[in-house]
């Protein structure tokens, strides 16, 4: 099956009259409709980056249930061995992650343990900046995806975020990803998005003003692309596709809503290579168990149907998902049944191409760095692996000189 066959679409029921989409009758190439088709078909490999903001407590996610040091370090917070979803004789997933356990059983979930970087920084902002720029030594002004966008001279649709504010990850020096917010306010009848188009043209003006104009031009372009993607459904694939994650109130700003937009775009053959989505609220200094379980439930219920659906469609086959947070948390719980900012934590890599299993040396709970887990895998090895295997790029160019070790995840 070649790339063009995979990108044929039937019009979804009820939208047959929708302007350009009706052209050509039955099957249409979305990239042609959008004018983004190129003579050399670009790779179908895609990366979906899920950022967990706030510092996810990795020890409550991938629980070392058999370790006595774990049970004794966290009274009131530790999970008993019979509560967790066993991965092996030592580790188990949080009970609120049954979907991820299913993905584990079908070998689509890889867990890299104790991922971090030298001299861990416990500031949310600095540590997130380090992860998103892949530069632990000094602050730099562009994200690692942004760097890749710069180097490949990528068009705006190459990287798309469904968050209201562009994450530093997608910001390059000369290029940046698009931020497409699908929810929002309705326009009055006397004005339409087309009225905005002339303001997106180039003019003789300052750099920031030019960026404001570019944002308008990119909005028009990305909005057309994503809206049209949501109007088409794939022409092939099994009838029993897992349903899209339900979109709760709050619309597309929920993780489920963001991932629904991603799946629409992937299945419609939109040429985006990197998607950025996020879930916040992991800063659990107090009453962690209740708060984090609620977040895990959201993560599980959004991510599982997403990955299962990827596996069942041709368009989704080559999509890989990365889940990370800026740091883990301190091994010992605090008196408020929460945990303070820590260091290394697990990173999840999921998808149809992933070789499931545990990777990296397990963290020691007794040989600690000032109360925190020591990293056994540098996060740049994970990013480098994805740059090389998914984005088909030379990792050395985008890791600021760091010589990465390829992990056998993909």
């Amino acid at each position: 099956m070649d790339i063009y066959t995979r990108r044929k679409f039937l019009l979804a029921s009820g939208v047959a009259g929708a302007g350009a989409l009706a052209v050509g009758g039955g099957g249409l190439l979305l990239s042609e409709l959008l004018g983004t088709a190129s003579s050399t078909p670009e790779s179908s490999k895609k990366l979906v980056i899920v950022t967990l903001y706030g510092g996810n407590d990795g020890l409550s996610m991938v629980v070392p249930y058999a370790d006595a040091a774990y049970q004794s370090a966290r009274p009131g917070l530790a999970y008993a061995p019979e509560q967790v979803l066993h991965l092996d004789d030592s580790y188990g997933l949080n009970p609120k992650l049954p979907g991820l356990k299913r993905l584990w059983d079908s070998k689509r979930l890889a867990i890299v343990q104790a991922v971090g970087y030298p001299k861990p920084d416990r500031s949310h902002f600095r540590s997130m900046d380090i992860w998103q720029t892949a530069s632990p030594d000094k602050p730099i002004g562009r994200g690692w995806v942004g760097h890749w966008l710069d180097a490949t001279n990528a068009p705006v649709e190459a990287a798309v975020s469904f968050e209201p504010v562009l994450p530093p990850l997608l910001a390059g020096e000369t290029r940046s990803g698009a931020c497409v917010s699908m929810g929002g306010l309705k326009l009055p009848s006397w004005v339409g998005l087309n009225d905005l188009e002339p303001l997106g043209k180039r003019a003789l003006e300052s750099g920031l003003q030019a960026q404001a104009a570019n944002a308008i031009a990119d909005l028009i372009r990305a909005d057309r692309m994503v809206r049209q993607a949501s109007l088409v459904t794939p022409s092939e694939g099994p009838d029993d596709l897992p349903p899209l994650p339900a979109v709760g109130t709050g619309g597309e700003t929920t993780l489920a809503g963001q991932l629904t937009n991603v799946i629409h775009c992937i299945e419609a053959g939109v040429p985006t290579r990197v998607y950025s989505v996020s879930l916040g609220g992991f800063d659990t200094h107090a009453a962690e168990r209740v708060g984090q379980e609620r977040l895990f439930k959201q993560l599980d219920e959004s991510l599982t149907p997403f990955v299962e659906r990827l596996a069942k469609t041709a368009a989704g086959q080559h999509t890989t998902v990365l889940v990370y947070s800026e740091f883990g948390r301190r091994v010992a719980g605090n008196a408020a049944e929460g945990t303070d900012h820590g260091a290394a934590g697990p990173v999840l890599v999921l998808g149809p191409q992933v070789a499931g299993g545990l990777y990296g040396q397990p963290p020691s709970l007794t040989d600690l760095d000032d109360g925190d887990l020591r990293a056994t895998t540098d996060f740049r090895d994970v990013i480098g692996t994805l740059l090389s295997s998914v984005l088909e790029a030379d990792p050395a160019r985008f890791l600021n000189g760091y010589p990465h070790k390829q992990l056998p995840l993909l």
Binding site: V165, S176, P198, Q209, Q211, A215, N334
Partner: protein, 423 residues
């Protein structure tokens, strides 16, 4: 001269009306700077919008609320929060002394505390009042370190002698007083210990309450100085560190001059000389030649953009129905800047972060709603620039506006134009 005064008013306040701008041009640049930074004159606009009286938090004295009590308390909190938002948006719109209100907004972003963690508008209002009433930075820091909203936001109420929680101590050093790189991890731990013993009460929004038994009264070493630091002596000590005025000057520069260009050392020194008085630090900034050189280097934050538009279009939030107010707040939230709810203790982003396709989309819809409410008269392209205090249009925008005959559509395009967004 007209352009430099316009830049001054756009930066010092939320966005001047055409009448305010022509008055200021008449008085001249230095007289305008003096007036802006000597905040003692009468303010009829502010006097007509006194702080709301929200009464007592409905959850006060309800340690174990029933389902019904909880529902009733949530309704009251929702109404109180709406009243707080309405009051503040109205105050910043009608206040004559715009520089005062803008500086309070600056400090809100600096001590970035979000109502979303604790839900009590009474706490939020009390914190706001403290910022407003502080004579200088040192006094403000002393009030803030025991402010219930800030203490709870950073888990200070859980910080005790036996189980230190360093969250508040860390942010005090990193984000509020010294800036990253000016302390070590051991200073963070020591600062956390100095801040132990404070708990909060919903019925007492004025201050956190000190519990001597859970305070760590032993000696701590902060930045090489060993003392039995308490919350107050710690912030007093930090305010005397050279890093503190340097950090505050750079933060003021970041929001009033440019988030892209670093503060020139000469400008920074002039501002430091006026520490701890923020209005005098701003006076030093506004009269420094580096300030005018930042024209075109600052992106209006969404709240600045929105309030400026309300002022220039003559729209008063006091008159909004509840539905319209909620719609406007939804717009601000979608733009990424909800008042009283910064995304994190790091405050709101800046610069190009506001110039994404996603914000362009929301801004467009919000601008159209404002234009619909204002029902502007038919304007020329030049008249639109005058109303919106824009110096000049580029050829692109001029051409885009020239062809528009519908006044509401023309106003909408003016409000989302790159020339209006960047100052």
């Amino acid at each position: 001269m007209a352009a430099s005064v316009a830049l001054l008013l756009r930066r010092a306040g939320f966005g001047p009306t055409s009448a305010e701008l022509s008055d200021a041009i008449g008085r001249g640049y230095s007289a305008t700077v003096s007036e802006l930074t000597t905040p003692t004159a009468r303010d009829p606009g502010a006097q007509s919008t006194p702080l709301p009286n929200l009464g007592i938090d409905p959850y006060n004295d309800l340690p174990n609320p029933t389902k019904e009590q909880r529902a009733a308390a949530d309704v009251k909190r929702g109404a109180d929060t709406e009243a707080l938002h309405r009051w503040w948006l109205d105050r910043v719109t009608v206040a004559n002394r715009q520089a005062v209100e803008k500086l309070v907004f600056f400090w809100h972003g600096h001590w970035a505390t979000s109502i979303r963690k604790f839900g009590s508008p009474q706490w939020m209002l009390a914190q706001h009042q403290k910022i407003r009433e502080s004579a200088d930075f040192g006094a403000m820091a002393r009030k803030m370190v025991t402010d219930p909203a800030l203490v709870y936001w950073l888990d200070g109420q859980l910080n005790s002698k036996d189980a230190p929680n360093e969250n508040l101590g860390r942010e005090l050093l990193e984000l509020f007083m010294l800036g990253i790189g000016n302390y070590t991890e051991s200073d963070v731990k020591a600062a956390g210990r100095a801040l132990t013993g404070w708990r909060v009460d919903l019925g007492v929004p004025q201050t956190a309450i000190f519990f001597r038994d859970s305070h760590d009264a032993a000696e701590k070493t902060v930045l090489g100085v060993t003392s039995k630091f308490t919350a107050t002596s710690l912030v007093d000590f930090l305010a005397t560190q050279p890093a503190c005025p340097r950090f505050i000057a750079s933060r003021l520069w970041f929001r009033y001059a440019s988030a892209e260009v670093p503060i020139p050392p000469v400008t920074q020194d002039r501002m430091i000389a006026a520490f701890p008085f923020p209005n005098l630090m701003l006076k030093a900034l506004f009269t420094d030649e580096a300030f005018q050189a930042t024209a075109g280097h600052l992106v209006k934050q969404p709240i600045e953009w929105f309030v400026g538009a309300l002022r220039q279009l003559g729209i008063r939030p006091a008159g909004f129905s509840s539905t319209v107010l909620q719609e406007m707040l939804f717009g601000l939230r979608s733009l990424g800047q909800m008042p009283f709810a910064p995304p994190s203790v790091g405050g709101w982003p800046s610069g190009a972060a506001w110039l994404t396709p996603a914000t362009a989309q929301v801004r467009f819809a919000l601008a159209a709603r404002l234009a619909e409410m204002a029902r502007p008269p038919k304007l020329t392209v030049e008249g639109l620039a005058d109303t919106l205090a824009v110096d000049t249009w580029t050829d692109r925008t001029y051409a885009a506006l020239k062809g528009v005959s519908e006044p509401r559509r023309m106003m909408t395009l003016g409000l989302v134009s790159p020339e209006y967004l960047v100052t």
